[in-house]
Point group: C2
Chain length 304, copies 2
């Protein structure tokens, strides 16, 4: 086994992931938990991190690089923002050091779009972008990053030019749990209904203004024609994702240059959605991207 | 004081309103409570109604006419639907009688749109339409009926030709209470921010696909530029209403023939929204419309 060189941490709002990495970027150990920013703000960031470091027998001197919501104002140490147009290389240079820690712990900054008509912020996705695209990209890429708060990002020649956040994942969660539509999806099992999903994607893409109507049809259709809870759930999911794609694809970027950075179930769903619209995308694994981004940053910070 | 002739009840999902009315349609007494369909399904519809009848000393023989969700499958007695294209006159002829009641109690049917691509249902709004437009309307009217589940209805020559439900009110409720945006609106007082509202209406109307993004700007704007909780709340409200209007006004009906059936705060908000888009509407009070619709139906049913 090779020597560990640093620790990489992706510390989101509701999830915590840690990797013990060697000099070549190889993962020696991994930890995952739900001690995200919200939980750690109560339990204490320092203690949560130390417990995971101890669990993988991290040497005392090893430095730790963190990205994500741990750097928010309501997080551990505020790591600030790089403003758009934001060169991805600038991320590496503005890591905030956690004061008073025994080891070298740094948190990468987010990106802010200080545009009064389209204000926006990201934290964590900038590190995925770094890992997915690298520092030296040429030309323009449109990037779709699905999630609780999906991001659509335009990267030009290694610089984040513009981005937009869509609350797609969070809307799906509250609409399916907290509205009258919860009756329509109640009892939906894991069975997928790809046909209902793709139909909803296409309908919402064609008429995104009708999203709040198309959602309601999940219930009306069940009342008038029957149908499974899974079909209703896929109608909600497809409507919200189809609406997001209508906005994300409304700009000028050629379809051949769209990158989809996602993992697991979301990667599958969004691939099906792009498929339904006959739009080609290049899939990139989000977990790998964030790890690679943290490796690149760690190498830049600690390799003199 | 004149003799009471019948009792009119608007029994919605979450509200109950009762009027004791004389032969000429004049209101002799009124009751309002939050014993809507959901509450009454637990407490018992018959007992809830009787308590309100007793409170206004209703004579034993007086008939009662009900509209709204009390006629749903999950309500008191299922009152069925008139299918589109639905002549408003057909509503009067299909009231369902409550079996086993000592007095004559009838519930008006709803309207169903059995279109697999655009299934939809209404219960209660058909009675408002009856009261607002009457039986003998000529030509085409586009009707906007704001609410928890807003309805946009095309009425042609006294017949409901097509309608669409938008979950605008319910979405506002869950988005402002149950998502990350609850942080942005926390502490918003009653102070209105009409400028923020109208700005959001125009932005969403111009780019409805971006609704889930425009909602999120309520938080990003506060993070990057500050701003009041009231401004954030009006941004949410204006975004959702502006998106609804983009869909509702996307059809072919001339702007001069739009009726807005609403009461109270919703009437004010939607008038401001139409104003922001320079669209003329004819405002009609929803409370008066439902009372007038119930009166017309009662007269048709019980005046031989």
């Amino acid at each position: 086994m090779t020597e560990p060189a640093y620790v990489a941490v992706d510390w989101g709002t509701s999830s915590f992931r840690l990797w013990l990495v060697d000099r070549s970027g190889r993962v020696l150990a991994e930890r995952r938990s739900d001690e995200g920013m919200l939980a750690a703000a109560k339990a204490g960031f320092s203690g949560v991190l130390q417990a995971h470091l101890t669990a993988v027998s991290t040497p005392d001197h090893l430095p730790v690089l963190v990205c994500g919501m741990a750097g928010a104002k309501t997080g551990w140490v505020e790591a600030g923002y790089v403003d758009t147009p934001a060169p991805l290389a600038a991320i590496l240079k503005q890591a905030a050091r956690v004061p008073g820690a025994a080891r070298d712990i740094r948190i990468l900054p987010g990106i802010a779009q200080r545009d009064r008509a389209a204000p926006d912020v990201m934290r964590g996705e900038e590190t995925q972008l770094l890992g997915a695209l690298g520092l030296e990209t040429e030309g323009e890429t449109l990037v779709c990053m699905p999630g609780t708060h999906s991001k659509w990002v335009r990267v030009k020649d290694g610089t984040v030019a513009h981005f937009s956040t869509f609350m797609t994942g969070e809307l799906f969660s509250v609409v399916s749990r907290e509205t009258i539509l919860s009756l329509a999806v109640a009892g939906a099992d894991e069975a997928e209904d790809t046909a209902s999903f793709k139909t909803a994607v296409k309908a919402a893409f064609a008429a995104p203004a009708f999203a709040a109507n198309l959602l309601f049809t999940a219930r009306s259709r069940q009342l008038l024609f029957g149908g499974t809870p899974a079909a209703a759930r896929e109608t909600l999911s497809g409507t919200l994702i189809g609406t997001e794609l209508a906005a994300g694809l409304s700009g000028s970027v050629p379809k051949s240059a769209i990158a989809l950075i996602a993992s697991g179930r979301l990667a599958t769903l969004y691939r099906q959605a792009f498929d339904a619209l006959s739009v080609n995308v290049t899939p990139i694994d989000a977990d790998e991207a964030v790890r690679r981004g943290l490796s690149m940053a760690a190498a830049a910070i600690w390799t003199k």
